[in-house]
């Protein structure tokens, strides 16, 4: 051992002695006991997460490399390292992957454009009116509890060819006489925006709620126009909420397939979740489905990491 190694060790020991000088033996023992209790508290939960989250992801990765032996029955696969599974599904479903991320991106932006004014209205404009604020927040959270698929199905009927929206749009000639909304990308994105809007709105609301209104007044007193005040003061101060909301909306949207299945259900609106589902259950192609799942997970994680690196959002989790 060199002297260089020795140095930090000594200073470390000294630091420890210094901090412990004022602590009694009992206090140290109590702390140790507390630490042990803490360990017992976290072990069951972590064991559960390892067994039913970490291990499954590893199993999924392994299964994505399985091969089908010649002459095998449906659903029969053998462990292998068949990396070509990835190339096969990527070339077959590249456009579906791109479409899924495209839909998710558009829905996230739409949710931001709708959710921000909504959050601003409730958190800032209605700050003096506690009752109204409470009612609007309740109305925002409560739909969460009614059934999500039932609501999506209701959308389908509202947007249906005989439905009120299409008739009005045809009457004012926004839609051609034979134009329709269901089974279009528009309907799917509309449904995605609708279903995940609260995930966008609530974090923005939380950060705008903490906003000090005197900042806005100060900006106005310094002759900033409302536009300048918004872009230079309000928006930067609510940025953590915007970043958190964007991620919380984008992640579930990219993987969702209920909206695509109910509101779209044609070849131009297929999302990657539908493919994974049908590869697992209809085609019984476990390796292909696993490979697609793994690609989706890695793609989203990479995007999330880039996003966090770029914008840094500690408030998120």
């Amino acid at each position: 051992m060199t002297a260089l190694d020795d140095k930090p060790r000594v200073s470390g020991r000294r630091a420890k002695v210094e901090t412990e000088e004022w602590r009694s033996e009992e206090e140290i023992a109590a702390d140790k006991r507390k630490g042990r209790v803490g360990m017992y508290l976290i072990v069951p939960g972590f064991a559960f997460l390892v067994l039913f989250f970490a291990a499954p992801v590893v199993v999924l990765l392994a299964m994505s490399l399985y091969a089908k032996p010649p002459g095998a029955e449906i659903g029969e696969f053998v462990p292998a390292l068949q990396f070509s599974n990835y190339l096969t599904v990527l070339s077959a479903y590249w456009d579906t992957l791109v479409r899924s991320f495209g839909f998710a991106l558009i829905a996230t932006i739409a949710a931001l454009l709708i959710g921000y004014p909504m959050a601003y209205l409730v958190a800032v404009r209605l700050r003096g009116y506690r009752l109204l604020q409470g009612i609007l927040l309740v109305l925002l959270i409560a739909p969460f509890f009614s059934s999500f698929i039932l609501r999506t199905q209701a959308w389908k009927q509202i947007l249906a060819d005989e439905g009120p929206v299409v008739s009005v749009l045809r009457a004012v000639a926004i839609l051609p006489p034979d134009g329709r909304l269901t089974a279009t990308a528009f309907a799917v994105i509309c449904g995605l925006t609708y279903n995940f809007l609260p995930f966008m709105m609530l974090p923005i609301y939380a950060s705008l709620d903490r906003l000090d209104v005197s900042m806005l007044e100060a900006s106005g007193d310094l002759y900033a126009s409302p536009m300048t005040t918004f872009f230079r003061v309000t928006l930067p101060l609510s940025a953590p909420g915007v970043f958190a909301g964007t991620l919380l909306t984008f992640i579930p949207t990219a993987g969702d397939y209920v909206n695509a299945a109910i509101l779209g259900n044609n070849r131009d609106t297929t999302m990657i979740g539908q493919v994974i589902d049908s590869r697992f259950f209809r085609v019984v192609d476990y390796p292909g489905a696993s490979a697609l799942s793994f690609i989706l997970m890695v793609a989203i994680l990479v995007l999330v990491l880039i996003y966090i690196k770029r914008f840094g959002t500690k408030e998120l989790f």
């Binding site: 507390k34 630490g35 209790v37 803490g38 360990m39 508290l41 976290i42 069951p44 939960g45 972590f46 559960f48 997460l49 039913f52 499954p56 199993v59 999924l60 299964m63 909504m118 601003y120 209205l121 404009r125 506690r130 309740v138 109305l139 959270i141 409560a142 739909p143 969460f144 509890f145 009614s146 059934s147 999500f148 698929i149 039932l150 609501r151 199905q153 209701a154 509202i158 005989e162 609708y194 809007l197 609260p198 409302p226 991620l247 992640i251 579930p252 990219a254 993987g255 209920v258 109910i262 589902d277 697992f280 476990y286 489905a289 799942s293 793994f294 989706l296 989203i300 994680l301 989790f317």
Partner: protein, 265 residues
């Protein structure tokens, strides 16, 4: 002129957004009174019979009962395990903290299809039969991360001096926990449990992967959607909405009163 546009823009857009959010709910509620036969697509006149007999459609209340049981059990498991982790993480410093944090956060950053598919792969691998218990396990996984994150925020916001004061007054660690720590954390734990239940009750994608032939309420509606959803489903959806509304309103009233009481002191 510009100022005027600015003043009206926010209320108008915000108001329209609320309409957008509530239109399907209103639709579901209105069509729960529809005098429909097997399918509930067109308006055929007002009736109360769907509300008088919500179990009228075959298998609907079985599916509902299954969802309620799963929701309750998964919520209990997720809340207990998650709260323990949240408490332990704040008190216990250990070496693999970053790895542990990642293990908690990753399920939240994983899309539901992937969570569902990986659990299915795991259950196939273990040779377990899909059904009631595999759904509960799957729901516990995604609710638990959520509980940890919610409750941990509460625990970190907790003033450690309150617990120290309790032990200075000769309270045993157990007494300190049940008389001081737990009551202070209770609002956070309750909120986490309520949202866990809502997420479990309403989950379709993860359930679909891990349920086999076992039916839950969302699965029932998803399958029915291809043939036509019975009006009784609208009754149950509306009832859930109203119950949730009541729970949230009562919660708001309680917290409002508590704040008033604290302010009066």
């Amino acid at each position: 002129m510009k100022q005027k546009i600015g003043r009206w823009f926010i209320p108008v857009v915000g108001g329209l957004a609320f309409v957008y959010l509530l239109v399907p709910i209103v639709y579901i509620f209105v069509f729960s009174f529809n005098d429909a036969g097997r399918t509930n697509l067109a308006w055929r006149g007002f009736t109360l019979k769907n509300w008088q007999n919500p179990c009228g459609a075959p298998n609907i209340c079985e599916a509902l009962g299954n969802s309620l049981q799963i929701g309750i059990l998964a919520t209990i498991f997720a809340t207990v395990l998650g709260t323990c982790i949240a408490l332990g993480l704040v008190r216990y410093k250990f070496r693999f903290r970053n790895t542990a944090d990642l293990l908690i956060i990753l399920p939240l950053a994983t899309p539901e299809v992937v969570l569902g598919a990986s659990l299915l792969a795991q259950f196939l691998n273990l040779g377990w039969e899909l059904g009631f218990w595999t759904i509960i396990i799957a729901h516990t996984v995604f609710c638990m991360s959520f509980v940890v994150v919610t409750v941990r925020a509460r625990v970190s916001g907790l003033d450690p001096r309150l617990e120290e004061a309790a032990s200075d007054l000769y309270a045993s660690p157990m007494a300190t926990f049940w008389k001081v720590t737990f009551p202070l954390l209770l609002p956070g734990i309750t909120a986490a449990a309520l949202l866990s239940f809502a997420m479990s009750f309403d989950d379709f994608i993860i359930t679909n992967f891990n349920s086999g032939n076992f039916d839950t309420f969302p699965k029932f509606i998803y399958v029915a959607a291809t043939r036509g959803i019975p009006a009784q489903a609208n009754v149950i959806g509306s009832a859930m909405f109203i119950i949730a509304l009541l729970i949230v309103v009562i919660g708001q009233i309680i917290s409002y009163r508590r704040q008033k009481m604290l302010a009066a002191r």
